[in-house]
Symmetry: none
DNA sequence: TATGAATGAGCGTTCATTCAT
DNA sequence: GATGAATGAACGCTCATTCAT
């Protein structure tokens, strides 16, 4: 009952502004981004932005959350399916690389600034906590895949899970950054395969 | 002797300012950093900074270069010694983690902003090239270690070197970021060992 | 009707700022004038000035142009009427002296700085050309009066027109400067008559 | 007795600085001129300038005085000789045009800024008085020539001396300004002749 | 609700002036 | 005396935020 009436108009506007902000923040970073450009991109007047978000900082944090949520949702969904650990890792990485092809700048923004913001003194503790929770959720997801792989006998029982998680995340990030710098798309599926091959088999001769 | 008089005092001041700038830029990023804070931290007046660096941008670029040079020098030196690929990778990672314990924020600054700056339109092509050369030098160094490991028969002859480099760098960066967020030091030697073990042996059961 | 709506309010504000700027520039010169004082005199905040003029230099050039245009318009109009050369020169001088009584500082500003600016390297060639065109227009106007006087037989056929123009302009300027320094108004009509008498009759006994 | 021993070194240095200042002030105007450039041109260090002149303003006023004194001395000397009023006026104008060929910017600087400075609130009354005395001396000199010409019967007994002085000065200034803008020298002697011819004979047909 | 003109705190940079050497 | 590195007040300009319409 009514828990979802909302005002469709309003919410649409909110989203438009949020998306515009994501573009601008991704392109310029927090400080160099200008509220006017956000407004322009959203097709509204400067003052209107303030009807939906009380300040630049609030808009930024909302943007960050939206991006991270979306990204995490996609990654989790990719890793959620049944299948072997190898398959699920492949899906995870492929999903990330595919997203990077479309939104490299957003993902890098999120990866970089979210860290920076959870450190800043002036950000409220509640906000910081929410930022940290994303990291927990991300690492937790990968950890889950790995541990189930161990239990299934597919991965080494003595696997150093903590390091393995860092390795997966780090490799993802390294390619996201690369995508940011070169024009051409990452070959998502192939690349995911190569990464997982190496992760599983190791480098030893 | 005496071939080293030249700037006894001047160069010291230059370094003081550079170091102060590194602190501030690392803590705030380029745009949020204020020249006055740099000056304060260096113990000089605002105008003095401009006697040594002609603009905020120039100071930033100089800071970036100094940090990157130092970091790369240490990593290369660590990886340069004789020994097996395993040993050299361990040294490399240990060196990085040790540096991260002392200068996590600087390393992260360099890693993040150097990328961003090589993209910006207003930065001179010469500066961009220098920034890019750091990336080349870094990846080249790791590549060298791996290829020599292959030739020595220590690493798989069919090793996917490109992906392996990304994996090493990514893992390093992942831990540098982690160090940025938690207070306690990374156990550099132990952690390097664990990472290399996993890299070499792989995750497969 | 109504073809004049457009900017009812905006243009008024623009003019207010321009006029305030004219006062300040006239009193202090370009470099010593402060944008904040311009804003104060116009009754707006500092930032508002920049909504109408993109920089101090642009504001100055606009100011100069407005003053020169107004001044030249009035002089040309005065000299345009029918009548003998004597009458037209009288009108011209009287118009100038009358204006000097009201705006001596502006006229002197224009006379002095417009010259200086058409020399400066950093001013765009287009702007320089516009400044130069004012000088051409001014000298051209006086020249016209003199040449028509010659053709009408009222002035000597061998009149040294070039020198005569300089003499008229120089005398005008000399009195404009004098007005700048003393409080009391120039007796415009009488003075114009005395100047023209001397110009025509010469000093010879 | 000793009233003139002076320290030859010191006075030479003072003059060097003064002359350098004249160049810089003439080229840039008071506010845009920088003390460092004055020092450079004088071949001394920035601080040294302050050993000889206590402030930028004092240096400027001293510069103005030196220029004006020199200029007036030369004009007076030229007008002082025996001869008819025509000859003396010719000498006067020729001297001015000759000086303008060499020092147009200085003369214009003096003409323009000296006026401006005698108006400024912050300049001491004593300084203002000295500035005004130059104007008196200049007009007085020309007035003398004219009045002697009248007494000698060479000029009209009813000559409007006040206007005539303004006319002579104005014409001089008009050509000084012109010299400032074009590269080529004024033909001093010829131009003086043409101006005096017109002044004496008038424009009437 | 939406607008965008207006605001003013804040920052990068300059440069006259000082003072330790 | 002479130097020039250091200082810091001052100014041009930006942009997040407000508010009258």
């Amino acid at each position: 009952m009514g828990e979802q009436q909302a005002w469709p108009e309003q919410e649409a506007r909110r989203q438009e502004i949020l998306w515009a902000a994501a573009q601008v923040f991704a392109a310029k970073g927090f400080h160099a981004a200008r509220m006017e450009e956000v407004a322009e991109r959203a097709g509204v007047a400067k003052g209107t932005v303030y009807l939906y978000y009380p300040s630049k900082e609030a808009l930024f944090l909302a943007t960050l959350e939206a991006i991270l949520t979306q990204w995490l949702d996609q990654l989790e969904q990719a890793a959620a399916g049944p299948g072997t650990a190898r398959e699920r890792l492949c899906s995870l990485l492929e999903a990330n690389f595919t997203l990077a092809n479309r939104h490299a700048s957003l993902i890098c923004l999120a990866a970089q600034e979210s860290e920076a913001w959870s450190l800043r003194a002036q950000v409220g503790e509640a906000e910081k906590e929410r930022m940290r929770s994303f990291v927990v959720r991300l690492t937790g997801g990968i950890q889950g895949v790995l541990q189930e792989g161990i239990q299934a006998g597919e991965l080494r029982p003595d696997l150093d899970v903590e390091v393995a998680v860092a390795m997966v995340l780090g490799t993802m990030h390294a390619y996201n950054l690369r995508r940011l710098h070169q024009r051409e798309d990452l070959p998502a599926r192939e690349l995911a395969g190569r990464v997982v091959d190496l992760l599983l088999a190791g480098m030893k001769g």
